[in-house]
């Protein structure tokens, strides 16, 4: 009987506890809780009567339990308090949560009353409130209020608030709305509200300057930051045309000019400066821009050098010695006064700028100095030298030793107050470097000083801590050797020493083992080395994804036969263009005379400069053989482009181009806007041998030659036309850039090749060019013909053709076979104006008269490929490209969007001849998957459940078959645990039931809890009487599972589990119920 008393007391305690917990969960249901509490206490009392010394046992239990409860209580309380009164410690380095200098200063200077209204969801926003509190602390006349839009609708409508979390900063009449609730945005709004004036800043164009585009070296970041403080940046000041600086201009910026300013332009700048204007000039090494005289008047000299910095500071950012890093700044000058000692500014390829003292009354200062280990390298040939050789050294006397000044500022305090700032580099304010440490502030402060807006000069609020980990090469190599080699080796040696000292290995034995291992390693390395060079590849994919085309393989075998060596440099980051790298791996494994290298433009500025790489993804192929190097350039990353480039280099036929002379054609060496020096540079890159001043009259020499006619002002004589015709019939090539105006004398020849030269000039009313300052006289093309020349130009890129005539083509007549296609198609709203008077300046009005003018859309350029009957080589065709304009290729327009690209690909088409490889790009075929409905579940069940279980179970069965009798004991303990788990599960259900007041669910589950606890105890005791109850409970539970558990997959698992338990119970029946019944062991 004693045993049962303990069981009874336990049951009573369980019932009492269930009632207590139910009360805690839901104090509402009193009567059910009372029932259970009373029942529980009654059970305990009865148990106490049955077995008096029960309570002694209890007291032991109680003080153990009691300790647990107190600890629990303490923990709960501590958490409660921590949650209620949180303290925030701002340990971040940049003091992100305290205000920056700019904000504090602007708040202190506030004269007018400023109020900030924050419309916040249900009026609570801790971070914003603490931020605005800090604003109020610093700004005496700054006040703020948090408004809950739902509770204060009329004020919300008054300010036109449409969304939560909007802040309105208001002072007097003007107000600013801020949605992004950060300190930067709020301060900007504050400044705008107080200063409310707008300034316009002009950037000059026409000398290859950088614009506000978003590419790496553009100034879009600079423009954004200026717009935040109400400065509008326009990059459209063409001084040559306007003649003087516009009235509303606050500052003129000249950003990285590449060609010299014309006399009138320099005069305009000098006048503007003398009347108190401000000019910011950002120069680059190498380019002569014709402002030297103006600078000298203002006491500034720009050195004809480029600064080398060997301090290694640049390497922190992955930049090499061609990017000087400035660390010391002028102490007093307003622009750089706030730049603290440690802040760095980066100037990629900069020249020195010194102060030499100009007229009196001109106050000047050198703003930025590089470190001592740098100097101004006067030997500029390094920048143009062929890429391989890089000898840069400080030669005394010639180069300027460090520290080298990179910027200077002069203020005409005596006169009208003009200001001039000259920087030795234009890249430091471009998008790539703007956000790096001091660069951005330097540019913005310089501009603010020039616009006499000193109060804006400060250090802007910091973005979250910009502190990159940057190890110089030496440090990273040292860390590599220490952590990867030395340290583990040391540990291994210690271990080895301990082992051998214990005498188990004598040195001789170790030596023999060691020798054996080293020898075998040698054999393995040798075998691998051999297999590395003589190996073959088998592409098993169905679509032959990884096999090079037969053309490429023949090409590569030609490379082998001719003993040439191909090396490819691709300018892109290692991670992108993986498929192209795979393709090049294929090239590499096909022949040993091919190698490629991926160069990250970010890291190798000098190489990028030397190769004149303009955009990411460009690749340079260099084929070296018998002493000379042929290089080709291509941008598409495909096998076709690469193979063609290699083939072109292999052909190495001397590509010659002859420019006709004697008819007022354009000058190749002329460097100003009208000149064609940039075209000249690109021709050299394409390995053209250039001839100038060809007199057609003397006839054209045979051989692969492109005759180029660029902007002739006088017409050609008939015998010159005949010479050109003969050249064409020999299968020669010609490139004609003919401006509108007068007939050219080549009309007959062109008509034979079915090309009609329009005697007109094209007017374009479409307004597409308006954004970039192109008026009606500059037709803008965005639609291109279907031809290999224009296939690579992305749709939507613009082509500018100032003062162009129409050039049309109809299909080839007169028995010639070949093809003639239009390349450039203008907008329908354009037309060919026959009345040429506006061109010569008399008439100014232009409008369309139906009879004479030709309606749009018109074609401005054509490409013709036709039979050459007297061609030297069978099947060689004559090729002809005619453009109705020549200005599109001069220095001013060459760099604009599609212009340069068009000319280069026309040249390439003219020269490529017939054997151009066409290799279809191989893309894996389209094989999608479409699993609908329960197919997905099938996959789940098969791969994740059924297969693994089948494998694991098969092992289990095999083990059982071997008759491990210990397993049945294992099973019994498994059963005990599962029934114990069941007890807790039922108990939880009971408490929930009680708290919800449902008698049946509460009491019912309580009863089940007691039963399963008894079963678990009985099993533990191996009490055979418990067996039938256990089986019954297990079977009942299978059904109960579907009731008690909401989620149906879990239901399935739960029911399965207890079905298995029932079977196990039956299986190990003799373990619990011995065949011969004997008295059960009393409790």
């Amino acid at each position: 009987m004693k045993a049962y008393s303990t069981l009874l007391s336990l049951a009573g305690a369980a019932i009492f506890l269930a009632g207590g917990l139910a009360y805690l969960l839901n104090p509402g249901e009193m009567w059910l809780v009372l029932v259970n509490v009373v029942l529980g206490l009654a059970a305990i009392v009865v148990a106490g009567l049955l077995n008096p010394d029960l309570f002694r046992q209890y007291s032991l239990w109680l003080n153990a339990v009691w300790g647990g409860i107190t600890v629990l209580a303490i923990i709960v309380m501590v958490n409660f308090l921590a949650d209620r009164y949180p303290q925030r410690l701002d340990a971040t380095a940049g003091k992100l949560h305290s205000l920056s200098e700019l904000t504090v200063e602007s708040l202190q200077r506030l004269e007018t009353e400023v109020q900030a209204l924050a419309f916040i969801e249900n009026g609570e926003h801790e971070d914003l409130e603490s931020l605005l509190k800090q604003y109020a602390v610093h700004g005496s006349n700054f006040s703020f209020e948090l408004v809950d839009p739902d509770r204060d609708p009329e004020r919300t409508n008054e300010y036109g608030i449409r969304s939560y979390n909007t802040l309105v900063v208001e002072s007097g009449s003007s107000q600013q709305k801020v949605t992004e609730l950060t300190e930067k945005q709020i301060t900007n709004a504050l400044l705008k509200v107080v200063r409310n004036r707008r300034e316009v800043v002009y950037m000059t164009v026409g000398h290859g300057e950088k614009g506000v585009g978003s590419q790496e070296l553009g100034y879009s970041r600079f423009k954004e930051r200026l717009e935040e403080i109400d400065y509008v940046l326009e990059d459209s000041l063409f001084l040559a045309r306007e003649g003087r600086v516009p009235e509303d201009c606050a500052v003129v910026i000249i950003a990285g000019p590449q060609s010299p300013f014309l006399e009138p332009e320099v005069e305009a700048l000098r006048a503007y400066l003398s009347q108190g204007g401000s000019v910011l000039v950002l120069l680059d090494p190498l380019y002569e821009i014709g402002l030297g005289q103006l600078f000298r008047e203002w006491g500034i000299v720009a050195g004809d050098d480029f600064v080398i910095d060997t301090s290694g500071l640049g390497s922190l950012m992955g930049l090499d010695f061609t990017t000087p890093v400035a660390v010391s700044y002028d102490k007093e000058h307003l622009i750089v006064r706030k730049h603290r000692r440690g802040v760095m500014s980066f100037f990629e390829l900069a020249r020195s700028v010194h102060l030499v003292g100009g007229k009196e009354g001109y106050l000047g200062a050198e703003l930025v100095m590089t470190s001592d280990e740098s100097w101004g390298e006067t030997d500029l040939t390094v920048l143009q030298a062929n890429p391989g050789k890089q000898t840069v050294k400080l030669d005394e006397g010639v180069d300027r030793p460090g520290p080298v000044p990179l910027a200077a500022a002069v203020h005409d305090s005596a006169g009208a107050g003009g200001r001039l700032v000259v920087f030795g580099d234009s890249d430091f304010a471009s998008n790539r470097y703007f956000d790096l440490q001091g660069n951005g502030d330097l540019a913005l402060n310089a501009l603010s000083w020039l616009a006499e807006d000193e109060e804006l000069i400060s250090i802007r609020p910091r973005e979250p801590g910009f502190n990159p980990i940057a190890l110089t090469e030496r440090q990273s190599a040292w860390i590599f050797w220490l952590s990867v080699i030395a340290y583990p080796l040391g540990v291994a040696l210690v271990g080895f020493f301990v082992v051998s000292r214990k005498g188990r290995w004598s040195l001789r034995e170790l030596a023999t083992v060691g020798l054996g291992i080293v020898l075998s390693l040698g054999v393995v390395v040798l075998v691998n080395y051999i297999s590395e060079s003589y190996h073959s590849r088998f592409d098993m994919t169905e679509d032959q994804l990884y096999t090079l085309s037969s053309d490429t393989r023949d090409l590569l075998s030609r490379v082998d036969d001719e003993g040439k060596y191909v090396s490819v440099k691709t300018f892109m980051a290692e991670t992108d263009g993986m498929r192209f790298q795979d393709t090049m791996d294929e090239y590499k494994s096909t022949t040993r005379r091919f190698d490629y290298e991926v160069i990250d433009p970010q890291k190798a500025a000098l190489v990028v400069k030397q190769y004149g790489i303009r955009e990411r993804g460009t690749s340079i192929v260099e084929v070296t053989g018998d002493g000379e190097v042929q290089s080709e350039r291509f941008t598409e990353q495909t096998e076709e482009a690469l193979s063609n480039a290699i083939q072109r280099s292999l052909k190495a036929v001397e590509r010659r181009i002859a420019f006709t002379g004697g008819h007022g054609e354009g000058e190749l060496t002329q460097v100003d806007g009208e000149g064609f020096s940039i075209l000249n540079g690109r021709l050299k890159e394409m390995n053209f041998e250039i001839e100038e001043g060809l007199r057609l009259a003397t006839g054209v020499k045979p051989g692969a030659l492109v005759v180029a006619v660029v902007a002739p002002s006088e017409p050609f004589s008939p015998d010159e036309e005949a010479a050109l015709r003969a050249h064409m019939e020999r299968g020669g090539e010609a490139l004609l850039l003919l401006d509108p105006g007068q007939p050219t004398g080549l009309e007959a020849l062109l008509r034979d090749y079915s090309v009609e030269l329009g005697q007109d000039f094209v007017v374009d009313l479409s307004g597409i060019g308006q954004l970039l300052g192109a008026d009606v006289s500059v037709p803008v093309v965005i639609q291109y013909g279907d031809h290999t020349i224009t296939e690579k130009i992305a749709s939507g890129t613009m082509g500018f053709f100032p003062f162009s005539r129409s050039v049309s083509v109809d299909d080839l007549g007169g028995g010639m076979n070949g093809e003639a296609k239009a390349l450039l198609i203008t907008h329908p709203s354009s037309w060919g104006e026959v009345d040429l008077s506006p061109l010569t300046g008399e008439g100014d009005k232009v409008e369309y008269d139906p009879e004479s003018d030709r309606p749009g859309p018109l074609t401005l350029a054509v490409a013709v490929k036709a039979d050459a009957d007297s061609a030297a080589v069978e099947g060689d065709m004559a090729r002809l490209v005619v453009f109705g304009d020549s200005d599109f290729a001069n220095n001013q327009y060459f760099g604009q969007q599609a212009n340069g690209e068009l000319l280069v690909s026309s040249l390439r088409w003219l020269v490529e001849g017939e054997d151009k490889l066409s290799i279809p790009a191989r893309i894996p075929r389209f094989s999608p998957i479409n699993l609908v409905g329960n197919q997905g579940d099938w996959v789940l069940w098969i791969s994740v459940f059924i297969l693994p279980l089948v494998v694991a179970m098969s092992g289990f069965v095999i083990m059982l078959r071997r008759g491990y009798e210990t397993y049945s004991a294992g099973f019994v303990s498994w059963l005990i645990y599962s029934f114990l788990g069941l007890t807790f599960f039922f108990f939880a259900q009971a408490v929930v039931g009680l708290s919800e007041g449902s008698f049946w669910q509460g009491e019912g589950f309580l009863l089940l809890t007691l039963i399963s606890a008894a079963v678990a105890y009985g099993l533990f005791r191996r009490d055979h009487r418990v067996w039938p109850i256990a089986v019954g409970l297990a079977v009942a539970n299978v059904g109960l599972g579907f009731v008690a558990i909401p989620n149906e997959t879990l239901q399935l698992a739960y029911a399965g589990l207890f079905a298995a338990n029932a079977c196990i119970l039956i299986w190990i029946k003799r373990e619990i119920v011995p065949t011969k019944v004997h008295a059960p062991a009393a409790g």
């Binding site: 005498g503 188990r504 290995w505 004598s506 071997r962």
Partner: protein, 317 residues
């Protein structure tokens, strides 16, 4: 059959066995006697080609242990100190495996296995998992694996260690039954085992052979008068003083095994250095001292004493 000539073995700077030589005739059971760590196991390992000797040589059944180790291994059955058993295999599969790797032709596999199980009396356990067998049966399976390929030489290293008396007797009976069919080397440090089963004994201590021969020859070799038992009446300290003063006496001990005599009679065990016959000296000294000499006789030394004697003697020299 087995010939070992000045064999020595060193591990690094530790010499386990030094200049050991002995011969075992065909069909003979040789007892290899020595305290733990005396180099028994190392010698056995050299004989079974498990370890190469540092110097010296050993010939088994005419084959040199180093040159023709494969031949030697075919002819040796080896039961090491801990029986090499795979706990997860059944007895029959284990013995089949051992028979195969010992080179028993597949035709005779079945018969050889049954025979080995018969000899070691484990036939009824053939399908049981070795892991579940008792220690005694495991030892028997170990023995069976040494016999399964009917080797001409059988080397048993401490075969009865860790068994209860009943199992020890069974194993000894089994080993005795094998006499004549194989040349057996029995390594042990349990002396009764050797005296009962072995034809010849080799005693090894700290890596060297300190005694060799049949149990009887060993005993006679060391018998004369080293140890005397004297019964003397008189004050015990004085007598002890007197006895230890005699030239050649190593130590004097009370012999409390004898039944207590009346009065002050006391029995003493006198040990003398080997080769010294001190009986008449003792008698003369006691009588001169005026004490009553009741009894004086030499003690018969059994193997245990011989063994202790030899090994301790080693310590003094």
């Amino acid at each position: 059959m087995i010939e070992v000539r000045n064999l020595s073995k060193t591990y690094g700077d530790v010499t386990a066995v030094e200049d050991v030589s002995f011969i075992a005739e065909k069909g003979e059971i040789l007892g290899f006697l020595g305290p733990n760590g005396a180099g028994k196991t190392t010698t056995m390992r050299v004989l079974t080609c498990y370890l190469p000797p540092s110097s010296g040589s050993a010939i088994v059944d005419g084959f040199d242990v180093v040159e023709e180790s494969m031949e030697v291994r075919r002819r040796i059955g080896y039961l090491p100190e801990f029986p090499p058993l795979y706990a997860d295999m059944t007895v029959s599969s284990y013995l089949t495996f051992v028979a195969k790797i010992k080179g028993v032709p597949s035709a005779q596999l079945k018969s050889r296995m049954d025979e080995a199980m018969e000899k070691t009396g484990i036939a009824h356990q053939r399908n049981n998992v070795i892991g579940h067998l008792s220690k005694g049966y495991r030892q028997r399976v170990g023995l069976a694996q040494a016999l399964v390929h009917n080797p001409s030489v059988l080397i048993l290293d401490e075969p009865t260690v860790g068994l209860d008396p009943r199992q020890i007797i069974e194993i000894r009976e089994t080993i005795k039954a094998l006499r004549g069919e194989h040349t057996i080397i029995l390594c042990t440090h349990i002396l009764p085992e050797v005296s009962m089963t072995c034809d010849k004994i080799v005693i090894i201590s700290e890596g060297c052979i300190v005694g060799e021969g049949t149990p009887e020859s060993l005993m006679s070799q060391l018998k004369e008068g080293e140890v005397l038992r004297a019964q003397i009446a008189g004050p015990s300290d004085e007598i002890r003083e007197l006895l230890s003063g005699i030239d050649g006496v190593l130590d004097v001990v009370d012999d409390d095994t004898a039944a207590p005599k009346d009065g002050d009679e006391q029995a003493y065990i006198v040990t003398a250095a080997p080769g010294h016959d001190i009986r008449d000296l003792v008698a003369k000294r006691i009588v001169d001292g005026g004490h009553g000499l009741r009894e004086l006789r030499g003690l018969e030394m059994d193997l245990e004493d011989i063994f202790l004697q030899l090994t301790t003697q080693e310590a003094e020299a």
